[in-house]
Point group: C2
């Protein structure tokens, strides 16, 4: 078999591969992770590489994904280009999965001001007492006598019963083995780690001496686009740190549907499962390293994610989720040993996953409802979680209904060429006055792209400044120097090349604006459909909570003005950030909160919009800025 060497720049990594291996496979073999949202079908155009030396044959079908300039400079798609020569290729930063940085140089991508994530509080945030899912308690036991010769484990559980809420305990065989020596070697001074398991105490670990100071847990939001983890001190309840990363599953597809297709049809489940485990392990290690703790002192991971993500996390076949009648394997996930699926914390540690409602309303929403406290009071409230899917919940302490609609990744920085996740260098706020664009970036860095909150501002500012029409098309009246044609498409330049980190302009095209309008239309149509379904009007909602990965803040009036969220008094609307992560942390640190989330999951009724005729009408009506029915947005006036 003929073999060639491929050299990947800028890392100068060399790899020898057989003829006809694709560049994507060669990169993977070299340990370089390249974006591939479509899973290697030549459709998403994410895996662009520049061939700088050697001859390569580009796939004619993919030519539409490149500008003329790019084609001349040797840009190809890694997934569609086979190695038939010794090649040197350059990987542009945008093609590289950012997580790679963690793998290669140990530095994780952090949110600019990560603690902000946890500062989002709703006015009704429930207060649960600090009572973590896993506890670590130091015991000094009385020595046995002939009058008191209870068994070793009874001596332990007798003491534990006095100081914990559990009447009964269960213990694994491995904890019992060698317990006798451990107790006597350590003079009856031990530390017991135990978890809530079906309302009884499950003893996970018995250590000699006092190790109760070393006691940490990880709350994880497993999002389709991003995976974010919070490290919590379970002795004090204090949040120690937070880190986020791209979901490494991105290479198997941009959204849950394409990943399910990969797992069930084109590829297999295992690599998709492994990808998210790698995410969690990398985050755990990075957080542990940064805060000088041992990952072995993390004894519990609490994860919240949508139903598909939870299935991938647990290596459960998601294959019936995507097909009518949309049936998941399970909605309540068993408490398992973290080691069982390769999560690298304490080998006796556990993984608990937030319960789901249905195939398209997952544990992230249950965690969100928990976080905003809407299920605690009689007033009717609404939660809008805008992720790759938009999920809506309406209800109170007596009833809860929910639905979901595919929103696409636009508001999480996906899809748009200049779009990016809310990390350092993302434009998060933007204004346009007299043709001049001013913006703020996360971390005050030079801009690298634009995140969800920035895009909402941009759309609003463009329509207010008459740069686009209310149906989303550019106003073609001349004299706007920022309106350029590139690659045969009209684009509005938000930042010129000399302003940016990458030296490339940050711009937004007409098709990208259309995508954003579709996304906001789907979310609003879902809200409207659900409000109508329960026979309410927007005014009857005591509060509307908006959650999602837009960025560290969201301009509520502008979000209303583009028609994303209902036009009610802004004082009643609150942006609560990553409520899935907040809810996961609440469950991690409070048994009552976790039990509440199980109740929320049991109580919530899911409305399948795919089955619900009015939704399509609402969607079409919402494809306008702010809406075709102006009466729905009485306060919106673009003053044009």
């Amino acid at each position: 078999m003929v073999r060639y060497t491929v050299t990947f720049l800028p890392d100068n990594k060399k790899i020898e591969v057989e003829i006809n291996t694709t560049l994507l496979q060669a990169a993977e073999k070299a340990g370089i992770i390249i974006n591939s949202l479509c899973g290697g079908d030549g459709l998403c155009g994410e895996c662009q590489l520049q061939v700088v030396n050697g001859k390569a044959m580009a796939d004619k079908n993919t030519i539409g994904l490149f500008s003329k300039n790019e084609i001349e400079n040797g840009y190809v798609l890694a997934c569609r280009t086979k190695v038939e020569d010794n090649l040197t290729v350059m990987i542009p930063p945008k093609s590289r999965i950012e997580m790679e940085k963690i793998i290669t140089d140990g530095a994780a991508i952090t949110y600019s001001e990560p603690e902000k994530l946890v500062l989002h509080k709703t006015s009704h945030e429930p207060s649960f007492s600090f009572d973590p899912l896993v506890k670590k308690i130091y015991l000094e036991l009385p020595e046995p006598t002939l009058e008191d010769n209870a068994s070793d484990i009874d001596r332990i559980t007798r003491e534990l019963s006095k100081i914990s809420s559990y009447e009964h305990f269960e213990v694994s065989l491995s904890c019992l083995q060698n317990l006798t020596e451990k107790l006597r070697t350590h003079h009856w001074k031990i530390t017991v780690t135990f978890a809530r398991h079906n309302s009884i105490g499950r003893i996970l670990q018995i250590e000699g001496g006092d190790t109760s100071d070393k006691h940490y847990g990880l709350a994880v939001d497993v999002g389709t686009t991003t995976v974010v983890a919070q490290l919590v001190n379970l002795k004090t309840g204090k949040i120690i740190g937070v880190k986020g990363s791209h979901n490494l599953q991105a290479r198997y597809g941009a959204d849950v549907i394409s990943r399910m297709v990969f797992a069930c049809v084109r590829g297999s489940l295992e690599p998709v499962h492994k990808a998210v485990i790698t995410n969690i392990n990398n985050l755990a290690h990075a957080l542990a390293q940064e805060h000088h703790i041992d990952t072995k002192d993390i004894t519990v991971v609490f994860a919240a994610g949508n139903t598909t993500m939870s299935h991938f996390l647990l290596n459960l076949t998601p294959c019936s989720i995507r097909l009518e009648p949309y049936v998941p394997t399970t909605t309540v996930y068993p408490q398992i040993s973290a080691a069982e699926i390769g999560i690298d914390i304490n080998p006796k540690g556990i993984l608990e996953v937030a319960p789901s409602i249905a195939s398209y309303v997952g544990g992230d929403i249950v965690a969100g409802v928990l976080a905003c406290g809407m299920a605690d009071k009689p007033e009717i409230r609404c939660l809008i979680d805008v992720g790759t899917n938009g999920e809506i919940v309406i209800g109170n302490n007596e009833w809860l209904v929910c639905c979901s609609a595919s929103a696409g990744p636009a508001f999480e920085g996906g899809g748009a060429k200049s779009g990016m996740r809310a990390t350092k260098g993302a434009i998060e706020k933007l204004e346009i006055h007299d043709g001049e664009v001013t913006y703020e970036t996360i971390g005050k860095a030079k801009p690298r792209g634009i995140c969800g909150s920035g895009l909402i501002d941009a759309i609003y500012e463009m329509v207010r400044n008459n740069i686009i029409e209310q149906h989303g098309k550019f106003n073609m009246s001349p004299g706007n120097p920022r309106l350029i044609t590139e690659d045969e498409e009209l684009k509005y330049v938000l930042a010129y090349p000399d302003e940016t980190e990458t030296g490339q302009a940050i711009s937004i095209s007409e098709s990208e604006i259309a995508n954003l309008i579709k996304s906001k239309g789907a979310v609003f149509a879902a809200i409207k459909s659900l409000v109508d379904y329960v026979g309410l009007s927007f005014d009857q909602l005591e509060n509307v909570y908006v959650a999602g990965g837009f960025g560290s803040s969201l301009n509520i009036p502008k979000a209303i003005a583009i028609g994303l969220i209902p036009d009610i008094d802004v004082k009643r609307i609150q942006f609560i950030g990553n409520s899935s992560l907040t809810g996961a942390r609440m469950s991690l640190t409070s048994i009552a909160a976790f039990e509440k989330s199980l109740k929320i999951a049991r109580r919530m009724t899911n409305i399948e919009l795919s089955n619900y005729v009015p939704f399509m009408h609402e969607f079409v009506a919402a494809l306008f800025l702010p809406h075709t029915d102006a009466k729905l947005f009485p306060s919106v006036n673009y003053n044009r």
Copy 2:
């Protein structure tokens, strides 16, 4: 290193070993299991071998264990003889552990009429409804629709809830993985195997199609001397077969104390643990083979044993059991995966172990109390279990007290040279009339030895015929041709060499009679102490149940007449055989029975006789036939 070859006859197995290896080690290396009750200390004399070729140096200290004839014929102790030449050695049948037969030729040792074991019923045997610990149920599920798109596992547990007593179910991750395909491939027709676990249903296995016919469980009595297993059809409740074997731990010591010393001081726990696992696996395989089932269709093992045996079974350190204040690691054993400790049944199968009371009152007694039904009614009853330890329980449905005393293995066929377990060829009944001995053997075979019930008969007949005095010494008046001197000790011949299978006489020596009197004395003293402790008299006991491995039957009047059991109306005394096995089978086949056994264990009060002064007085008073206080045995009259 110099190496020699050892050839073991009659198998002609050859093994090359280094110089100074002991013959016991060499045999083990060759896969031959040799009796070694003392664990290789040169004390028990069980590991005798005959060196037929080559030179070997016998240990002078062990010379007392051999007759002159044996010394001349090259008999040595395997544990005390080192290999310093190429040797050919003959293993006499008595030195070989019988289980070896199962290992080498696949034929297990069976009880002569094994079903008899299960025919022992008490007059008050409780009736529990058939409701096995592990159930296997075939389900034809309704296919999901958009109106009913519950998760796959909810669809299963919904149906299970309708037809089982469980409200809640838990399921392992491995059962969920691939469930989606399994349900759809098998058109929603599946068989679910689930176990009781802390009052919820624990789903162990989900198979496609209807496999509910293949559903078996194993009840095991793990005795110090013997391990007995019953194979039960868990669909019908029918007992399919039963097999017994020597406990392979015998090579590490004859009793629980010497095995604990081996595990904790001289050797290590692992081999003692592995030995009993091998016992159970061999029995399971032999039973499965004989009854043409697959061991993979056995999904549950229920084991009952004394506390030390239960610890060894689960690989739990028993090291604090034997030392004051006698503390076990646990008295309630976790339900575990059978595979976790190497039990070779269905890989998803479980092991449940009967709960213990204290270090010296174990799950075998709890199972016995369950089996005889004494904890169900207000009348006060007594259970006497004579094994290597003698355990006594007195009580009713409101209270239960128990104690234990070391009885030694005499009644189980241990200790005495002609003693043997109640298997084929054992003398189980014996009479002496006018100097003539008549007997019955198990399986009507030529006699090979004498089991517990035969020994009780022999003692009784010897004292009645004035062959021994009431203090156990031979009556030296001349003219008894059966009274011979062999190896400088007086012996009474029960069967002459020409009558026996082995060609060696079956006899009983004065020291063996003394041992039996000590055993019966310890048991009776324990009964008397406990009756006194609770302030009762023997007459107030509604029933006395006698359990133990004496044989398939026990002559109650003769057992009274030697002073083993109290002298009350024989109609109120019942021999119930292996009640530990019966109780284990009850728990296996009825959840109510298992839950009852947990209650029995919680309710029973243990009296430590080692702490109880009157016991020693009672013991000394009982070292006489029937007793030094004749008033205690008013009905006994030897008519001499």
